[in-house]
């Protein structure tokens, strides 16, 4: 088994390429099923955000894991493999662990220290877990990565100087409007990113929020959060002329806001600026909109330039975060080593043998004056008891090791036999239980949730 990562991010690929390689949430089930349908890929998780698309996989040791994943991406998106490879990076082995921890800690983000990536990785993991594409390695790796994210956030000041894509959008809006008090913001698409940006804008004084979404009920739901107004999607352009700021984050694959429509909406505004924030990937707003007088369009890539000023401070904190990651990496690698079935069984046997020897020695001291034959009989008796006691658990452990939830049994065995020090005294299955509970809550939420997908 081998850890493999193939991906691309804002560092390696422009938005034109990234938007072609997204895996929206509603298509992840198919994608994961397809990816894990071959023997090459044992476990897989697809992380698809605005700034990166990464496929994490546990691949069979004797196969070309990266090749299999690249082929999958190329086939899935119907792209030329050779063209695609130019933008991809391949990470293997321990470096995958480090990469994931750095991603979750937001050290690899466009805006170092932004908090959204942790939630996005959690969502990606939950999708994988739900669609049964994760196994023992990824269940542990991703759960530990969330701990890493939490530690980095609480033990360093990496997130204190508030810099994020949505914050950058607010800062830019202030450069256009000075103060956001009394301004009207039109939110297009009821996704989480637009909600977050709208929230930032409202906390900075925006008084009127209009929400347009293909699903009107979802628009109403989001509008209610800001005491705003849901508007019919068809009347989008009519309201565009009345807005000061437009935030767009839909899951549409074509441009939703065109240059022609914005030009029309700009007429009669008496030069009042319109600030357009396109945080969708693929983009919602036609890039040519920026050529229109008084219209200022920023897409997800443009927003990165705004936050550079705060990066130096964050980079200093990032050094501390790297130290945390090193610690956690060592812990994960130790776990990974210990979680092999053979070492676990060997450790159980070794511990049992040690106990047997100690108890036998103590008993023999008390008995005294036994013959050689009697000694051999007692020796064999204790060995036989231990072997018979361990036979069942050992066989069952070997049997479940290859199964999807085998990690749980191995963890439980190590816990019950006290093979690992557990200073926190935490039940190793608490995480699984919590996860399952969250899954139930999420399932209940998704029944009522409709609208656009956030990337």
């Amino acid at each position: 088994m081998h850890l493999t990562l193939v991906g691309l991010s804002h560092k390696t690929a422009p938005i034109e390429i990234r938007e072609k390689l997204t895996f929206p949430a509603n298509r992840q089930e198919d994608a994961l099923a397809l990816l894990t349908s071959t023997d090459d890929v044992v476990e897989a998780i697809i992380l698809s955000t605005c700034n990166r698309t990464e496929i994490y996989a546990v691949t069979a040791a004797d196969t070309d894991g990266p090749g299999a994943i690249i082929d999958f991406i190329a086939d899935y998106h119907d792209l030329d493999r050779h063209e695609l490879v130019r933008y991809l990076y391949i990470v293997e082995g321990d470096a995958v662990v480090k990469h994931l921890f750095r991603v979750v800690a937001s050290l690899d983000s466009m805006v170092v220290g932004e908090a959204q990536i942790l939630g996005q990785v959690k969502e990606a993991y939950e999708q994988g877990f739900e669609y049964q594409s994760t196994g023992r390695v990824f269940n542990k790796l991703f759960r530990q990565s969330f701990e890493v994210g939490k530690r980095v956030r609480t033990e360093t000041a990496i997130g204190e100087s508030a810099v994020s894509i949505s914050y950058a959008a607010v800062e830019l809006a202030k450069r256009v409007f000075e103060t956001l008090e009394g301004r009207t913001v039109l939110v297009l698409g009821a996704g989480k990113m637009s909600e977050l940006t709208a929230k930032h804008l409202c906390s900075n004084g925006v008084c009127k929020v209009l929400v347009a979404n293909r699903t009107f009920a979802r628009a109403e739901e989001l509008a209610a959060k800001f005491e705003g107004t849901a508007i019919p999607y068809e009347k989008l352009y009519e309201y565009l002329g009345k807005a000061d700021i437009l935030i767009s984050s839909t899951a549409a694959t074509e441009y939703v806001v065109t240059k022609e429509a914005v030009a029309k909406a700009m007429r009669g505004r008496r030069g009042d600026p319109l600030f357009l924030i396109d945080i969708a990937v693929p983009r919602d707003i036609e890039p040519g909109v920026n050529e229109i007088d008084d219209a200022y369009l920023y897409d997800i890539d443009d927003l990165s330039g705004v936050v550079e000023a705060n990066l130096d401070e964050r980079m200093r904190e990032a050094e501390r975060a790297e130290a945390i990651i090193s610690e956690e990496m060592a812990a994960f690698e130790a776990w990974l080593e210990s979680m092999e079935v053979v070492p676990t069984i060997a450790a159980i046997r070794s511990k049992s043998e040690q106990i047997r020897q100690e108890e036998l020695e103590r008993a023999l001291k008390r008995l005294g004056g036994l013959s050689e034959k009697e000694l051999q009989t007692i020796e064999k008796l204790t060995q036989s008891i231990v072997n018979k006691m361990l036979h069942g658990p050992t066989n069952r452990l070997k049997g479940v090791a290859g199964e999807r939830y085998g990690i749980g049994y191995i963890e439980a065995a190590r816990y019950l036999y006290g093979l690992d020090s557990n200073p926190d005294g935490k039940n190793p299955h608490g995480g699984i239980l919590r996860h399952l509970l969250r899954k139930k809550e999420k399932a209940a939420d998704t029944k009522t949730e409709m609208g656009d997908t956030v990337v």
């Binding site: 450069r175 009669g268 008496r270 030069g271 009042d272 600026p273 007088d293 443009d302 330039g305």
Partner: protein
């Protein structure tokens, strides 16, 4: 004694305004808010000193002298400072101080160099004709209107610079110090909205006085014609902006052209001693 006070206060005001200019520039580059406070304090003190200096001078001469390049430049500097403080009071943005206070300083320095200069073609008869309340109000209105147009031009320039930066998605520490796009636009609009009626009134009063004193062909005077151009430019600005809803960028270019015409008019008033209107801006 009062004459001496007038001279001393003028020099003091110039020194204070130069100090304010240095502090404004420094705070603009270094983002030191405490310096901005001191810059504003010094600029305010300099403006008060300049006001006092003009007052002492007026006392000595039994009325404010409006004739000659020195006096008109001093009045223009004062008007620019007053307009700046009004704008700063409402907009709370000190970036304009970094531009307008140095402009006032420049005008005062040039005024000092031209302190002895008198319009060459100004006769005793003309001086008598100028000694009229209409002329006084005409000059004050035109000076303040010009200051307003200049502020509108500066704000429009900021608008275009900031708008260009935002269009190109470029940021920088200096950009952070510039006023926002909407604020620059608002200052430009308000400055023109206030200055244009003043300029119109000033022109009407000047025209009335010219007709009263029977100045033949006054309308053909190059500076009168240029002032007509300034009026037409800012009239177009208002018409296109409020009547036709023209873009902020187009409006800004018109305002800059208008402010450029104001500056050109000021220079021509001194370098081309032709026509009847040789004594003013």
């Amino acid at each position: 004694m009062i004459e001496q006070l007038a001279v001393v206060t003028r020099w003091f005001s110039l020194a204070l305004l130069i100090a304010a200019t240095v502090l404004y520039a420094y705070q603009l580059l270094m983002k030191r808010e405490t310096l901005a406070w001191w810059a504003r304090f010094l600029a305010g003190a300099g403006t008060l000193m300049l006001t006092a200096g003009i007052g002492f001078r007026s006392t000595v001469s039994n009325g404010t002298e409006l004739v000659g390049p020195h006096n008109t430049l001093v009045l223009s500097a004062w008007a620019v400072l007053v307009v700046y403080f009004i704008a700063e009071h409402f907009m709370k943005n000190r970036t304009y101080g970094a531009v307008l206070v140095p402009v006032a300083v420049l005008l005062l320095i040039v005024a000092q160099f031209l302190s002895g200069a008198q319009p060459s073609g100004l006769t005793a008869a003309a001086l008598v004709q100028l000694d009229n309340w209409r002329v006084g109000i005409h000059v004050v209105l035109i000076v303040f209107a010009n200051a307003g147009f200049f502020v509108a031009g500066a704000a429009s320039l900021f608008y275009l610079i900031l708008g260009g930066q935002l269009k190109r998605h470029k940021t920088g520490p200096l950009l952070d110090r510039l006023p926002s796009l909407a604020q620059a636009q608002m200052i430009a609009r308000r400055a023109v909205v206030l200055a244009f009626p003043a300029y119109t009134a000033g022109m009407i009063l000047g025209t009335i006085r010219a007709i009263e004193t029977d100045v033949g062909g006054f309308w053909a005077d190059p500076r009168v014609m240029l002032s007509g151009l300034v009026w037409a430019l800012f009239g177009t600005y208002l018409f296109l902006l409020y009547g036709r809803g023209v873009s902020g960028r187009t409006a800004s270019w018109i305002a800059i052209a208008g402010a450029g015409a104001v500056v050109a008019l000021s220079i021509l008033a001194r370098t081309l001693p032709v026509g009847f209107h040789i004594f003013a801006l």
